[in-house]
């Protein structure tokens, strides 16, 4: 035997150490985090997660899906049982997946943490994440719709910033007469864009009990009519137009789009500084309610590390981390991530007047509530809007059809979940 005791013991010790190390590695928790959005955002999340890892030894692996892919990917993953631990997604989806059993009821499993987070969140941002008092998700971020105005062009044309629907129509027709136009980026001829007008007219899309569509109410119809008339009467462009560029070139001197446009204008065209401003929405018969979008996030039922996942969510929604994400994204891509956390707003580096108008609009805005079958029914409203705007179909007929189809779909969705 060539093996002497010394060599053998060294071998055994090395073996033992390696075994110990492997158990340590196996013990380390890795959270899978699926992000809906852009790669820039995913990189930023990965970056702030590093500090989290330093504190907790929990590592976070971030994957990213673009918006068109995202819903399928989550549905597939839930169906196949290969979900991540945490996901950011459309704000109503955690509730949708939650009712289907794919995601957990945060208010039930982590009541303390959830309450802490929700208390800091803008109240208008929460409705999509809850259903019948249960909270299935918290907000990752929010986006708000804002109106941007080219003051220089307005002055040239002798226009003033519109404060009401009536003043707004004056602006629309004046712009049309000089070959320019108002334009919508976010929500262009889609339900998202129409929703604020429904609210501003005093309407809602769901009935009060949340069991059906309220699109046939006179208020909703009034808002929808105003919305479609912008396209039909005043030649507002539809489709995948580049609103940002049109705003910079002056083709569209007034636009409604997401908050991110402000930062992008600053970055892409610094020479325009002082020539444009953010304005509140023009007031309709019932006010100037705006739209809050953005993402929610939640924890998947199949996650083996729910506690750690909640820990990371609380970390990620903290004001300091949100502020860091904000500044990283602005620096890198001119992409803005507005925080749903009220405390973030005082520490981020936002131009003061912009911040003031934005915050004012934010308080005046809301996110649509979650209703069973709602997500699946928006396409009927989209379809009706397209029929009216693109095909020139009769407004009342198209909306009636959308109303009926929405009612049918919501009923089916309720039945699928065994609700009345």
């Amino acid at each position: 035997m060539r093996w002497d005791i010394k060599k053998l013991s060294v071998a055994i010790i090395v073996g033992l150490v390696m075994m110990m190390m492997s158990t340590i590695i196996a013990d380390a928790v890795e959270l899978n985090f699926w992000h809906t959005g852009t790669e820039d955002e995913a990189d930023a999340i990965g970056e702030v997660a590093k500090d989290f890892t330093k504190k907790t030894d929990i590592t976070v692996k971030v994957s990213v899906f673009s918006w068109p892919q995202s819903r399928t990917k989550f549905l597939t993953a839930i169906a196949a049982g290969v979900t991540p631990d945490i996901g950011t997604m459309g704000s109503t989806w955690p509730t949708f997946f939650g009712l289907k059993g794919g995601m957990i009821n945060l208010s039930k499993e982590f009541p303390k943490e959830t309450k802490r987070i929700v208390d800091k969140t803008f109240p208008g941002a929460m409705p999509p994440c809850m259903y019948e008092g249960n909270i299935y998700g918290v907000r990752y971020d929010i986006n708000i719709m804002l109106m941007f105005v080219r003051l220089d062009i307005f002055k040239e044309l002798g226009l003033s910033v519109p404060g009401t629907w009536e003043e707004f129509t004056v602006v629309l027709s004046k712009l049309q007469s000089v070959g320019k136009s108002f334009a919508m980026g976010w929500g262009n001829k889609e339900w998202i864009g129409a929703l604020p007008y429904i609210w501003q007219a005093g309407g809602t899309i769901y009935t009060a009990d949340g069991k059906g569509s309220n699109l046939s109410s006179p208020e909703a119809l009034k808002g929808l009519k105003f919305f479609t008339d912008m396209y039909k009467k005043y030649g507002v462009p539809h489709g995948r137009i580049d609103v940002l560029t049109g705003f910079i070139t002056g083709e569209y001197p007034v636009i409604i789009d997401g908050d991110w446009i402000g930062t992008r204008v600053t970055i892409q065209s610094p020479e325009l500084a002082g020539k444009w401003a953010v304005a509140p929405f023009p007031k309709g018969p019932a006010g100037n309610t705006g739209f809050i979008g953005g993402r929610g996030m939640g924890i998947f039922t199949r996650s083996k590390h729910k506690k750690e996942a909640m820990q990371f969510i609380e970390y990620l929604t903290g004001a300091k981390v949100q502020a860091k994400l904000f500044s990283m994204l602005v620096d890198k891509a001119g992409a803005v991530m507005l925080s749903a956390n009220t405390k973030t707003w005082s520490i981020i580096n936002l131009e003061p007047t912009l911040a003031r108008v934005m915050k004012k609009q934010l308080i005046n805005s809301k996110a649509p509530t979650f209703q069973v079958g709602g997500d699946e029914s928006y396409r009927y409203l989209n379809f009706a809007l397209e029929e009216v705007v693109l095909k020139g179909d009769d407004f009342n007929k198209a909306m009636k059809k959308a109303d009926e189809k929405t009612n049918q779909r919501m009923k089916i969705a309720r039945e699928e979940l065994g609700m009345k």
């Binding site: 790669e39 673009s66 196949a80 560029t245 892409q268 065209s269 891509a333």
Partner: protein, 277 residues
């Protein structure tokens, strides 16, 4: 009559020239846009000539996404698939052309019949197979299904059949085995055809889109160029179009250069697909 000839010649050249401009314009526009400056790209009227070209768009592109990795993926996948195809297809083509074995014609007819079926029919089961193998988000799923193609076998068989039997017989009398015959006689004879098949396969893999689209779900670093472009396309706004055009240029130019270098083989390869009926 002479003036008529001259005029028609002029008209002919003018016509051919105008068509050429039409064909080249999108390519020119892509390259021009990729070298534009952010402040110029969205100016009206657009400028046809860049006075100050810049490579900022390319820098941004590599900052924005791991574009180098995407290029590697495309080259790697297309390269491996091409090499495997050349080997497996020529081997099988040799067997079908020069060997005699039971069920030979049946198998060959069976292979050929598959060319009638659109690939979409196999898309969903293909995805399910990849999923069951745990091959989603791996190179395996992008490479293995393509390492041997029916078209390549068909092409090789047609060409190897043209090699005189005497050559092979003589080699066999000299005591060469099948592998040596393949290596010493068949391969040198079909070298031009191999180049054609290689270009054909490389092009096919380089431009492939739907299969990577459904296979690469979570591991974004495994995206191929077309997939990366499709994702970037959805996220482009304002002057970021410069980076998108830079990406499109980088995805197109290697093939265009390859094409200009090996034009004859490309066109021969394409013309060959015309003979397959």
């Amino acid at each position: 009559m002479k003036w008529f000839r001259t005029v028609s010649k002029i008209v002919l050249y003018l016509l051919l020239f105008v068509v050429s401009i039409t064909m080249l314009m999108p390519f020119y526009w892509m390259v021009r846009s990729s070298f534009s400056q952010a402040k110029d790209i969205l100016k009206y009227p657009p400028k046809f000539w860049l006075r100050e070209p810049t490579i900022e768009g390319y820098k941004d592109l590599f900052k924005l996404v791991p574009f180098g990795r995407y290029m590697f993926n495309s080259i790697f996948i297309a390269g491996v698939v091409t090499i495997c195809n050349l080997f497996f297809c020529s081997l099988a083509g040799y067997a079908f052309a020069k060997h005699k074995f039971p069920f030979q014609n049946f198998i060959f007819a069976f292979l050929l019949a598959s060319m009638m079926v659109p690939w979409q029919v196999n898309l969903i089961p293909g995805y399910l197979i990849a999923k069951n193998l745990g091959w989603l988000d791996t190179y395996w799923a992008l490479i293995i299904p393509y390492i041997a193609g029916v078209f390549g076998v068909f092409l090789m068989r047609q060409l190897i059949r043209g090699i005189p039997n005497d050559l092979i017989d003589a080699a066999r009398i000299d005591g060469c085995g099948h592998f040596r015959i393949y290596r010493l006689i068949i391969l040198p004879e079909i070298r031009p055809a191999l180049a054609t098949l290689g270009i054909f396969e490389f092009l096919h893999m380089w431009n492939m889109f739907v299969w990577p689209l459904i296979i690469i779900m979570n591991r974004n670093e495994l995206r191929t160029l077309p997939l990366a472009l499709a994702v970037m396309n959805a996220e482009t706004y304002g002057s970021r179009i410069i980076s998108l055009m830079a990406g499109a240029t980088l995805a197109t130019m290697p093939i265009v250069i390859l094409f200009l270098m090996f034009q004859r083989m490309f066109i021969k390869g394409i013309a060959f697909t015309g003979m397959k009926e």
